[in-house]
C-alpha cells in the first residue's frame, strides 16, 4: 500500500475522532481516599497511574500499522467527583513537553524495570525508595497497556480474512512484544516505542505530551534500516503517516513534533527524514501533529521555500522557529548548547527542552491592560472582579508622562509579583502533594537522581508566563502621552470618562485616535514604547523564581486567552471597546498594521526575543492573491528568512482567504477540515466559537 492509500484508508476515522472529541475523554482517576493511605504519596500516585493504564478502553483497527489509542466507542468512564486538590490538575501546569523515549528504545519495558530495580536496591534514602517503588508500579501499568494492545492486534490478525491485514496485525503484535522484552531494532519498532511512551504519559498525567524531536530520535533507526535494505522512502513515509493519523485518533490534544534544526555539533540536521515528516503531515492534513521546523542560516533554501509553498496553499503548518534565538535564550538560562538544540515547542510556542523538563507553561496568562485600567479607575477594574493588589496613585498627581509610565510599571510589577507567588505556591504544593512516576522514567535525570519529575528530578525546571495585550497597552500609552501630556487636549479624567462610557461618543473617539502611531507599523515612537514595556516585563520577571529555585520566564502568546481576557477588560485608550478581543500575541492589534509585513516584522523584532522562552508569536496572514503568483513562495521564504535574521522568535502563516472563512462560517459542515492558526496552534475553524472566528477573519490580511 502506498502512503497515500494508507492515508485514504485511515483518515476518515482519525478526522472524526479529532473533530468530534474536543476534550480528551480519559479514564477517571481512582478516588484519592480509596488509595492505601499508609503508602507514601509517590506509591499512591503510581497505583492511580497503573489503574488508568489498565482500565482505559483501547482499540486497534485493521489497516493501522501502529497501536495506542483510546477506544472512542466504549461507554463513558464513570465520572466520580474528583477529591484531589484542584491545583494538582489545572491546565498548562503539567506535561506540555516531549518525553525521552530513550529508555524504552534502548531496553524495552523489561530493561527499564531492571534498571529501576537495581536503583531501588542501591537507594539510600526514603524518598528515592518511594520513587523507585512507584516507578515499578507505574511500569506494570505500561506493561499491561502494551499487553492489551498486543492482544488486540493478535485478535485482529486471527479474525481477519484478508491476508495483508493478518500479516500487518501479526507484525504489530510482534513489535509490541519486542518492546516489552527488549530494545527497538527497526524504524517501525522505534516509531511504536515513541508513541507508546507519550501515549501512556498523556494518560497518566492527563495532560498533553508529544513525540517532540521525531526525525532526530528516529534517524539512527532509519539509517540502519536503509543501509540493511529493510526500508525504503515510501515505507517510511507510510509509517510516519500512520503515526500522524494515530495522533489524531489517539486523543484530541495538540501534540508537538519539531523537525530539522541545529544539532549538537552546530550543524543543521535537515535531511530526507526531515522532509518525509513534513510530507507526511501534508498528506495527512489533520490538526495533529502540531508540526514545527527549526530554522537557522543553514536551513536549505529549497526546504524553506517548500514550507512557504505549503503555507500558501492555506495549510497552517509547519510553524517556524528560530534556532539561534531560542538556543541563545536557553543558554542564557544556563542550558548547555547540546541540550538547548533539543528544544521543543510545547504544543504552541512555549519552549522546553525535550525529554529533560518539568516546566509550567502559560502559568498564568497576564493581562497587560489591567494595570492601566486600575490606574485610570482608582484601582478598580472597569468591568470584572480583578482589582489592584495595592492602592493606586491619584490621577491628578501624575503631572508628566514619565510619572504616569512609572506608575504603570509599578502596578504591572505588583501584578507579576502576585502571579509569581501564586504559581510558586502551586509548584510547592505539588512537590509534596502529588507525584508522576511514569513520566519520571522518561524524563532526564529523574532515574539518576532518584527523584520524581515534580520533586527535583527533571534536569530543567522553571515556570513560564504569557503576557497578553502588549499592542493594546502600547497604543493606549502612545495616545495618552500625545493627548494628555504633550498636546494637553485631553485630561486623564476625560480619558477615564470616555473609557467608562465605552467610547460612547464616536466623534471623541475618532478625535482621540486621529493620526496616532500604532505598534506594528515600524513607527519609532510606538516601538520604543513597546521595548520599554517589554523591558519592564523582563525585569519584573527576573525578580521572582518559580518557587523551587528555577527562574520565572516570560512569553508573549495568547492561545485563545486574548478573547477570554478581553471579555473581562473594559474599553481601552487605544480605541478598543469593552469586551473586545485583546491584540493577538506579540504583533499589532487587529487590523492596525497598515504598512505591510516588513513594517510589522521590524516592529516585533525591535525588542530582544531571547529572554521570552515562554513563547513569542508573530501571526502573518496573507490574502489568496499570493497563490496566483508563482513567485509568491519565493518571496514569502525571503520575508521569513529576514524575520529570522532580525531575531524573530517564531512565525506562523495563514493564507486562507476571507471569502473561504466566511463561507466556512455559513457552511461549517463542508469546511470541517479547514484549519486555521488560532494563536500558537492550529485548530479547525468551524470548531471555534463565532467571536473567535470573527477575530481570525479580522486579523490584518496583508494584500500581495
Amino acid at each position: 500500500m502506498t502512503a497515500a492509500e494508507r492515508v485514504a484508508l485511515l483518515r476518515p476515522e482519525a478526522l472524526r475522532a479529532s473533530v468530534g472529541n474536543h476534550a480528551p475523554r480519559l479514564v477517571e482517576l481512582p478516588r484519592w481516599t480509596d488509595l492505601p493511605q499508609d503508602e507514601p504519596i509517590p506509591v499512591r500516585c503510581a497505583l492511580a497511574e497503573r489503574h488508568v493504564l489498565r482500565s482505559v478502553p483501547l482499540a486497534v483497527a485493521p489497516g493501522e500499522l501502529l497501536a495506542g489509542r483510546v477506544d472512542w466507542t466504549a461507554p463513558d468512564p464513570v465520572r466520580a467527583p474528583n477529591p484531589l486538590p484542584p491545583d494538582m490538575f489545572s491546565g498548562g501546569q503539567r506535561a506540555h513537553t516531549a518525553l525521552d523515549a530513550g529508555p524504552l528504545l534502548r531496553g524495552g519495558i523489561a530493561g527499564i524495570e531492571r534498571d529501576v530495580r537495581g536503583r531501588l536496591a542501591r537507594a539510600e534514602d526514603d524518598e528515592a525508595r518511594a520513587f523507585f517503588r512507584g516507578a515499578l508500579i507505574s511500569l506494570e501499568g505500561l506493561r499491561d497497556l502494551t499487553d492489551r494492545l498486543r492482544a488486540l492486534a493478535r485478535d485482529q490478525a486471527s479474525r481477519s480474512e484478508d491476508p495483508t491485514v493478518r500479516a500487518e496485525m501479526a507484525e504489530l503484535a510482534d513489535i509490541l512484544e519486542r518492546l516489552t522484552d527488549g530494545p527497538a531494532r527497526t524504524f517501525h519498532d522505534a516509531l511504536q516505542a515513541i508513541h507508546l511512551v507519550y501515549f501512556a504519559g498523556t494518560l497518566t498525567v492527563q495532560s498533553l505530551y508529544g513525540p517532540g524531536r521525531l526525525d532526530r530520535v528516529l534517524r539512527p533507526y532509519y539509517e540502519a534500516d536503509v543501509a540493511a535494505g529493510r526500508i525504503g522512502r515510501e515505507r517510511a513515509l507510510e509509517l510516519l503517516c500512520c503515526q500522524f493519523l494515530l495522533m489524531n485518533h489517539a486523543f484530541n490534544l495538540p501534540q508537538p513534533v519539531i523537525v530539522g534544526g541545529l544539532g549538537p555539533d552546530g550543524l543543521d540536521t535537515c535531511d530526507e527524514l526531515t522532509r518525509l515528516c513534513l510530507e507526511a503531515d501534508r498528506l495527512v492534513g489533520l490538526v495533529n501533529p502540531s508540526l514545527a521546523l527549526g530554522v537557522n542560516e543553514q536551513t536549505p533554501a529549497d526546504l524553506l521555500e517548500e514550507c512557504a509553498r505549503t503555507l500558501l496553499t492555506g495549510r497552517t503548518k509547519p510553524s517556524l522557529f528560530n534556532d539561534r534565538v531560542i538556543v541563545e535564550g536557553l543558554q542564557q538560562r544556563g542550558v548547555p548548547f547540546e541540550d538547548a538544540v533539543d528544544y521543543v515547542h510545547s504544543t504552541c510556542v512555549e519552549i522546553t527542552v525535550a525529554g529533560r523538563s518539568n516546566i509550567l507553561v502559560a502559568s498564568p496568562y497576564i493581562n497587560l491592560l489591567k494595570p492601566l485600567e486600575w490606574m485610570l479607575n482608582e484601582g478598580e477594574p472597569f468591568i470584572g472582579e480583578d482589582r489592584s493588589p495595592t492602592p493606586v496613585r491619584p490621577l491628578e498627581s501624575c503631572t508628566g508622562f514619565g510619572e504616569f509610565l512609572a506608575e504603570y510599571d509599578r502596578l504591572l510589577g505588583e501584578r507579576i509579583a502576585a502571579d509569581a507567588a501564586e504559581q510558586a505556591r502551586i509548584r510547592r504544593a505539588r512537590m509534596t502533594g502529588w507525584a508522576f512516576p511514569l513520566v519520571s522514567c522518561f524524563t532526564a535525570d529523574c532515574l539518576e537522581r532518584g527523584r520524581d519529575v515534580d520533586r527535583g528530578g527533571a534536569r530543567y525546571q522553571w515556570t513560564e508566563t504569557s503576557n497578553v495585550g502588549l499592542a493594546n497597552v502600547v497604543d493606549s500609552l502612545v495616545g495618552i502621552r500625545r493627548r494628555v501630556f504633550e498636546e494637553r487636549s485631553w485630561t486623564l479624567a476625560q480619558v477615564r470618562d470616555a473609557l467608562r462610557s465605552d467610547w460612547a461618543d464616536e466623534g471623541a473617539r475618532a478625535r482621540f485616535l486621529a493620526g496616532l502611531p500604532r505598534y506594528g507599523n515600524d513607527d519609532p515612537e510606538a516601538d520604543e514604547l513597546a521595548g520599554r514595556i517589554v523591558q519592564t516585563i523582563y525585569a519584573e520577571h527576573a525578580k521572582h523564581d518559580d518557587g523551587a529555585g528555577g527562574p520565572l520566564v516570560p512569553g508573549f502568546f495568547c492561545w485563545i486567552m486574548h478573547r477570554i481576557l478581553g471579555e473581562d477588560t473594559g474599553a481601552s485608550a487605544d480605541g478598543r471597546r469593552a469586551h473586545e478581543v485583546l491584540a493577538d500575541a506579540a504583533g499589532a492589534a487587529q487590523g492596525r498594521d497598515r504598512r505591510g509585513p516588513t513594517a510589522a516584522i521590524r516592529s516585533i523584532t525591535s525588542w530582544d526575543h531571547r529572554p521570552g522562552l515562554g513563547g513569542i508569536v508573530l501571526n502573518l496572514r496573507f490574502g489568496e492573491g499570493l497563490l496566483r503568483d508563482t513567485r509568491g513562495a519565493e518571496r514569502l521564504a525571503e520575508l521569513l528568512r529576514a524575520y529570522f535574521d532580525l531575531g524573530g522568535f517564531e512565525v506562523q502563516v495563514n493564507a486562507v482567504g476571507t471569502d473561504t472563512l466566511r463561507a466556512a462560517q455559513k457552511d461549517p459542515e463542508r469546511h470541517a477540515d479547514l484549519l486555521v492558526r488560532v494563536a500558537g496552534y492550529s485548530d479547525y475553524f468551524t470548531r471555534l466559537d463565532p467571536a473567535m472566528q470573527d477575530e481570525v477573519i479580522r486579523r490584518t490580511e496583508h494584500a500581495l
Partner: protein, 305 residues
C-alpha cells in the same frame, strides 16, 4: 557621471512609499511614488500622480460627518452634501485634512528630502538582502523630478541598494543618461507605437519616447519594456503589429512584459473629484493571442519579469 556624495537635502514631491512591493522589479522592494507626469493616459490607475502639486482626496466611506473640516476651511470649499469638496474653490491647502479625525480627507503629495525618503527605504534593507530586492522609483514619472530622482538614486546606490525606475521615458536624453550609472533596472512603458494613437490615448507625442527606448537598449542597460493592454484602445491588430515590430527592431531585443488592464484605480478618481473615462472597459481576454502574435514578430514576451 561620477558618484559623489548625494545631495541628501534635495526635495521632491512624493505621494506614497510602498514597502513590500513585489511587482516592481526583483525581490522584495520599496517603491517610491513621485508626483507629476507629462502623460495623461486614459487608463491611468494612479490619477493622483498626474499633477505636480499636492491634491486633496476625499474618501466618503471613511467620513464620520463630524464637521471639523467645515470649520477649518478658509475658502468655503467644504460642503455638507455628498461631494464634500467644492473643487473649484479648493486651494489644496490641506487645513481640512489636518483636522479630519477619520482620515477621510487626505492630502496626496508631500515634499520630502532624499534623506527622509531613504530613511524609510533603508528600514527594509534586511529584506532586500534575503531577496535581492531594493528601491524602485515610480510615479507619476520619476523623470518629471529629475534632480530629486538622481539624488535619490545616488543615495540609494551609496547605501548599496539595487535600484530600479519605472518611467515613460518622455524626457530629454541627458536626463535619462544621468541615471544610467545609478540604475540597475529600467522599466519603460510603451503605450502605443503609432504617434497619432499615442497622442490620442496619452495626450503627448511619442517620438522622444521611442528614441529614448532605442538609446537605452543601445546603451546595454538592464531594460524591461512593459506594454499595457487596454481592450478597444491599444489592442487592435495594427497596434500589436507595430508594437511587435518596434520591439523586435531594438538591439537585444529587451524583454517585453504585457500588463493587462484592470480597473482597480477607479475609486481614486472619485476621491479626487475626477471623472473616470473607462468605466465600461473590461480586462482583456485575448492575452494569449496577443502574446503569440508579438512573439511571431520577434518580440521576447515575458509573463511576470
Amino acid at each position: 557621471m561620477a558618484l559623489t556624495a548625494p545631495p541628501t537635502q534635495t526635495t521632491g514631491m512624493v505621494f506614497d512609499i510602498q514597502r513590500f512591493s513585489l511587482h516592481d522589479g526583483p525581490g522584495i522592494r520599496t517603491t517610491v511614488f513621485l508626483k507629476g507626469c507629462p502623460l495623461r493616459c486614459m487608463w491611468c490607475h494612479n490619477p493622483e500622480s498626474g499633477a505636480a502639486r499636492p491634491q486633496l482626496a476625499y474618501y466618503a466611506s471613511r467620513c464620520i460627518h463630524c464637521g471639523s473640516c467645515l470649520k477649518a476651511c478658509p475658502y468655503g470649499a467644504i460642503t455638507l452634501d455628498e461631494a464634500r469638496v467644492l473643487r473649484d474653490r479648493c486651494q489644496s491647502c490641506g487645513r481640512c485634512a489636518r483636522v479630519c479625525p477619520a482620515e477621510a480627507l487626505e492630502m496626496v503629495g508631500k515634499r520630502q528630502t532624499v534623506e527622509e525618503v531613504l530613511a524609510v527605504v533603508l528600514r527594509d534593507e534586511p529584506f532586500y538582502r534575503t531577496s535581492g530586492g531594493g528601491i524602485t522609483l515610480s510615479g507619476g514619472e520619476p523623470l518629471f523630478q529629475p534632480e530629486f530622482s538622481v539624488a535619490l538614486l545616488m543615495a540609494a546606490k551609496e547605501s548599496g541598494l539595487h535600484t530600479a525606475i519605472e518611467t515613460c521615458a518622455l524626457a530629454p536624453w541627458p536626463k535619462l543618461e544621468a541615471m544610467l550609472p545609478l540604475t540597475d533596472l529600467f522599466m519603460v512603458d510603451i503605450k502605443a507605437v503609432s504617434p497619432a494613437k499615442h497622442r490620442k490615448l496619452c495626450r503627448a507625442d511619442n517620438a522622444l519616447i521611442l528614441e529614448n527606448v532605442r538609446r537605452l537598449s543601445e546603451a546595454g542597460v538592464n531594460l524591461l519594456l512593459r506594454a499595457p493592454i487596454v481592450p478597444g484602445l491599444n489592442d487592435s491588430a495594427q497596434d500589436i503589429r507595430k508594437l511587435g515590430e518596434f520591439v523586435a527592431s531594438l538591439p537585444g531585443p529587451p524583454p517585453l512584459e504585457l500588463m493587462p488592464y484592470h480597473g482597480i484605480g477607479s475609486g481614486k478618481y472619485t476621491a479626487l473629484g475626477m471623472d473616470y473615462p473607462l468605466r465600461d472597459v473590461k480586462a482583456p481576454e485575448n492575452l494569449d493571442a496577443i502574446r503569440e502574435r508579438l512573439e511571431s514578430l520577434g518580440a521576447r514576451v515575458v509573463l511576470e519579469a
